[in-house]
């Protein structure tokens, strides 16, 4: 009951606006520390891979970007579903705020994957299951944002884009399992696999730091963006009159 009351309170825009404002530094500072530490560990401290040499160091930006692109889409679809079912405006705001973040990291994933693929596979691009499904994810993000911008009425934009986000979520497990379901150039999971991670701690710890740092960065960015979305949506709310310096 207490959880529900807390959730209900958090879903009120003024309350969320204040809470999110206070949370931003708590996400952003650890995110910066983890990303800088992880990149340093990955570029400087980790040994070169016995097969891929120093090219494997691309993993420290490629894997976190891939993770974020999938996590963002799942978050976006879940938020869109909550918004659609319970008509919570804040959930739609979260979905709208997440899309550009997810799209940008899907692009980083594709670009760094291509730069990694060239020396390892001998090609910049291959119409392989993992690469193609990731490209579809990027297009789903673009489609979601284009659909939103096609409506002047925010409520209609929320509803129409929510349907697209929910339908598109089917692509997320396809991306994850594509390397097992089909023959793929792409390697299987390195961290989440049977028998434990396929990396020594000197390589794994920086990767986990980057994964954690990127996730916290998303949380900070989402807080900032949702606050902006709330201000756009709450056009006539009385609480806006009490806006402080932040």
């Amino acid at each position: 009951m207490a959880t529900w009351t807390w959730f209900h309170k958090l879903s009120s825009p003024p309350h969320f606006y204040r809470i999110a404002g206070r949370l931003i530094p708590w996400f952003a500072v650890p995110a910066a520390i983890l990303i800088v530490g992880g990149i340093y560990g990955g570029l400087v401290r980790a040994p070169a891979d016995y097969q891929q040499g120093d090219a494997f160091r691309i993993v420290y930006v490629h894997a976190p970007a891939a993770w974020l692109s999938l996590m963002c889409y799942t978050t976006m679809a879940a938020a869109a579903a909550v918004g659609l079912i319970w008509r919570i405006k804040l959930a739609h705001a979260l979905a709208a705020a997440t899309a550009p973040i997810g799209a940008s990291f899907a692009l980083v994933c594709l670009a760094t994957g291509s730069l990694w693929g060239r020396p390892m596979w001998g090609t910049w691009w291959e119409w392989d299951a993992r690469l193609t499904s990731q490209l579809i994810l990027f297009f789903l993000y673009l489609g979601y944002m284009a659909l939103r911008s096609a409506f002047d009425d925010l409520q209609r934009a929320d509803r129409a884009s929510a349907v697209l986000a929910i339908v598109g979520v089917v692509n997320v497990p396809i991306i994850h399992f594509s390397v097992y379901w089909w023959n793929s150039l792409h390697q299987g999971s390195t961290v989440l696999r049977k028998g434990g991670p396929a990396m020594p701690p000197s390589m794994l710890i920086p990767l986990l730091m980057c994964l954690g740092g990127f996730t916290l960065l998303y949380a900070a960015l989402a807080c900032i963006r949702v606050r902006g979305e709330v201000l756009v949506r709450e056009r006539n709310a009385a609480w806006l009159r009490e806006l402080g310096p932040r």
């Binding site: 570029l43 930006v61 940008s104 760094t112 020396p119 201000l231």
Partner: protein, 70 residues
């Protein structure tokens, strides 16, 4: 240092990857802050306009005059 920059011969793949990731990271922070700042500015302007409209007494409104050009 040269060895580090050389990346075992993979420098032209490793450094552009980090460059792209860094650029997108910076863009994300910049665009999120800009989105919030603009929305906030617009909200404050709207509040100021509403307040000035509410404060304006009706008697101050100039009566419509006929026969005047644009």
């Amino acid at each position: 240092m040269d060895d580090f920059l050389h990346m075992g011969g993979y420098a032209r793949f490793v450094w552009p990857s980090y460059g792209i990731a860094f650029a997108v990271l910076v863009w994300n922070v910049w665009s999120a802050l800009r989105l919030h700042a603009r929305a906030r500015q617009r909200a404050l302007r709207r509040i100021a306009m509403d307040q000035s409209q509410a404060a304006e007494p009706k008697s101050n409104q100039a009566p419509a005059r006929s026969g005047e050009g644009p």
